[in-house]
Symmetry: C2
Subunit: 115 residues, 2 copies
DNA sequence: TTGACATATTCCCGTATCGGAATATTATTA
DNA sequence: TAATAATATTCCGATACGGGAATATGTCAA
């Protein structure tokens, strides 16, 4: 068996840096034309269109026709799955943060005691 | 240019479902041997070893020798990047949740008014 | 040392990737 | 209708993937 298709799920879709870049560009909330994205990314138009196709297929992005352009906008709710999955591990590093905070407080208390 | 290597960054590493499965199995916090994972996953040993190799390379997992076994444990802090990236879009769906909550409250108020 | 066990590595195959080039499609304007 | 602009699709080459089979490496125990 080979690698899972990029279009199979969100995790595969966002594995590609250029696609994360597109998502970032659309994170402002306003729709952008393909050419707009092409210029912003310095990538050829077909390449951008293909990335948009993948994002469209997994539902991360949606299109809206505007004359002879196509305006793409972010459908961020589709990224919730990724957030939820990652949140599962939040306790690991938040515990670390807590420990650091605790240590800092102890240190501050010691300094206060000295003076 | 070809596809980015799986080992290039965490996003690529977690794109593969089997690797997310491994991460899930190690999320309990205790280290697990390769054979343990092999049995839990129903996948051949070389395949599991290779996935572990990828996760090791990006730092999501670390090894500890234990006799003739190798115990793998999760290094969840490496997943923080994914969480942080996804958090950037949290406002999109939390706004949605707020709207749903608001509507529910309005409805509850109406019902209360009726009775 | 020899044998058994646990794990990693190599090689191979079928498949999918990404980007470039060329072309097709769709929408607008003259 | 013809020409032009915006975008999508197809084909290609180089590359990497994931899994299976076979093999190598490493570790212990007798």
């Amino acid at each position: 068996m080979s690698r899972a298709a990029t279009t199979s799920d969100v995790f595969n879709a966002i594995a590609e840096p250029r696609r994360r870049e597109i998502i970032g560009l659309l994170a402002g909330g306003q729709a952008r034309s393909v050419n707009d994205l092409v210029e912003a990314m310095g990538l050829a138009q077909p390449a951008v269109s293909k990335h948009l196709g993948v994002l469209r297929e997994v539902g991360v992005v949606s299109v809206q026709q505007d004359g002879q352009r196509r305006l793409y906008s972010l459908n961020a709710s589709e990224l919730k799955a990724v957030h939820d999955w990652a949140s599962q591990f939040e306790r690991f590093w938040s515990a670390q943060v807590d420990r650091i905070k605790e240590r800092a407080e102890r240190k501050a208390a010691e300094v206060a005691k000295k003076n």
